[in-house]
Amino acid sequence: MSSVTTPQESTKRAWTLRMTSPRVALLAMAGLGFGVAVYRLIFGLGAATNLSDRWPWGLWVWWDVLTGVALAGGGYSTALLVHFLGRERWRAVERGALLTSLLGYLMVVTGLILDLGRWPNTWRALLFWAGNPHSVMFELIWCVGGYTVVQVVEFGYIFIERVRAPRLSRVLSAIYAPVLIVGIILPFLHQSALGSLYVIAAGRLDTLWWSMLLPLLFLMSSFFVGPAMATVESFLSARTHGRRPPTRALQEMLRLSAGIMVVYLGLKLGDLAWRGALPALVDGSVQSTLYLVEVGAGVLLPIILLLLPRVRSSPAGALTASVLVVLGVALNRANVVFTGMAAAAGGASYVPYWMEFAVTLGIIAAGILAYLFVTENFPIYREIRPEPPSSVEWAQLWPRQPRELRATR
């Protein structure tokens, strides 16, 4: 029996997407978002958003770009651990993480282009030699774009399991190793670049968040949010598909997350102390309150939960801690984009227009539908499939005898 199909489906391999009422609702949301996105492209940013000269960046930059890229960090962190550091057991969650990451980046690129005020000029950002190497935005566009392509290629290895394409599979095998390596370097660069974006706001971004360590802090948080995101996603997916989430691998990954979070917390507070900004923590302002919520509920509390073996090994405990970590990272990005820049906006207010929400929710809905379609049509959850795949297919999928190595042996 072919391992790529479930027993019931072993005779037919038609593409399916089971429609249920929540999925119809998602489809409606995606449709509305698409309509509003077209409206925005035709009539401009002013017509579709509440952005202004004081608030040039808003909901889309916060959620679609900064938070989206961070939450998709599970892809590169899992790939690093599995393929370079030999955590073989974590391969159980690798494909799920890779898929979330790929869809996440496609969503980010969509959001990014919709946010460009001169979107027909998007191609100009791709003229490498005309670009400005001093610009963090340049680095970001290139690394996010490049990594999205890399992930499409990485997904090709799953694609060829489902769709026979011998020539494509030979090409993919040949470029496997370099693709994996570039697929780690690019995320390291752009996850940190998202933090570097705000380094230039020196003197304007609130002292609680402005730091020369912003790139490192953004990189670390994208790394530790990966397993948390994978946990949330595995639980949701397991519920939808009536499967058991790969808890053992997730627990180990969450423990690693907790370790990185300890260092992250130390760096964040140490940096505040080093810059003499600790008093700003307790001055009772909105900024200090939101900082304390971000660090207390989004970092410290999950660290405590995850370091307690009993909590970590219970599904409810792991899920609670993971949700806190995800919300904490989203709040951190919100604090940088909104809370920390409010004073510099000179009292001007920004509340997103309904169309901004419609586009963001539409992109999320489309992403969830795409996720469901892929998980129901491609072999994503290996550990929980009825039978482990045969070695022949795995050898084809993960060519662990690259030609150059065989020659040197």
Binding site: L45, G46, R124, S135, V136, L213, Q401
Partner: protein
């Protein structure tokens, strides 16, 4: 077979973990340290060197004690640069703000320690010696001309608005009401000033509140005015050192912070902060690449060895 063998291959305490921690620690430490330590790259100039280098750049000295708020400079600017008068974008008065059609405005400020006198503040692009907007622009649509002014090329712009985020003075504005918007800001009358002529605003000012000239000379002029009448001026030439210095300089009789100027800006050029991070990219990428290749090859060898053992059994 193989896939299953791998499942049980690594215990939690194998050497690769230690190596990972070491690598991660070294990388984090290296990047963190380099980011924190002051950059000693040759490209970073001292403030004196910078002032020296830009001494001949076209510049403006705006004396807020002389301005009477007539708005001639605003009218001259609109004529010179073919900008509209728009109803929703006042260019004079208490609500005057830079906007797509306002490259300069004269804002009325009720400043001055309760002396009841109104101050008129001409706002415009300050033309930084090391502009944050140009350093932030991914496509070089904003650039500092060799002659000094910072200009904008709409054909290159992708509309990411990072320049609006980056500018410490809130100068660049965006045409929000257009389907395809562009950034707009003062270009220091680039064509006029590159011919050596004064900017339209300076030429139009009836009370000599705006002086046009090379930055070095105007800086001396400003210091002379402060020295000649210390009781009249606050002892600060705004733009002399803010974010590394600007080509538009201000002198005033009331504290700048009361007139809407940000006095909390660092003296270091903002692009230097970012450059301390971005200049690490090539070495980080190369170091990471080398480490990843080493790890990958090592893992491949381990996997091959294990397959060999499996086969022998």
């Amino acid at each position: 077979m193989v896939a299953r063998a791998e499942e049980h291959s690594r215990g939690p305490r194998d050497p690769s973990r230690r190596r990972f921690l070491k690598l991660a620690g070294a990388a984090a430490g290296g990047v963190g340290l380099q980011a924190v330590l002051p950059a000693k790259a040759k490209a970073v100039l001292s403030s004196d060197e910078r002032a020296e280098r830009h001494a001949r750049d076209p510049a403006l000295l705006i004396d807020l004690t002389r301005c009477v708020g007539c708005g001639s400079c605003v009218a001259a600017c609109k004529l010179e640069n073919e900008l509209e008068w728009r109803r929703g974008e006042p260019s004079l008065g208490p609500r005057a703000e830079l906007a797509a059609s306002n490259w300069t405005v004269v804002a009325t400020e009720a400043g001055g320690d309760g002396d009841g006198r109104t101050r008129y503040v001409k706002r415009q692009c300050l033309h930084c010696l090391e502009p944050a907007c140009a350093s932030a622009c991914p496509v070089r649509a904003l650039r500092k001309e060799p002659l000094g002014p910072i200009t904008y090329d709409v054909d290159k712009c992708i509309g990411c608005r990072y320049c609006l985020m980056a500018c410490p003075f809130g100068v660049p504005t965006f045409e929000w009401d257009r389907p395809i918007s562009s950034v707009s800001k003062c270009n220091l009358c680039f064509e006029r000033t590159s011919r050596g002529e004064a900017t339209a605003c300076a030429a139009a000012c009836p009370v000599k509140a705006i002086t046009f000239g090379p930055r070095g000379r105007l800086l001396e002029e400003a210091r002379d005015r402060l020295a000649a009448e210390p009781e009249r001026y606050v002892p600060h030439v705004y733009g002399e050192s803010e974010v590394g210095g600007t080509s538009v300089l201000y002198v005033s009789d009331v504290a700048f912070s009361e007139l809407g100027f940000d006095e909390g800006l660092p003296d270091e050029p903002l692009p230097d902060f970012t450059w301390k991070e971005t200049r690490l990219i090539p070495s980080v990428a190369a170091g990471l690449g080398a480490a990843l290749i080493a790890l990958y090859v090592r893992r491949q060898k381990a996997l091959l060895a294990r397959e060999g053992n499996e086969g022998a059994r």
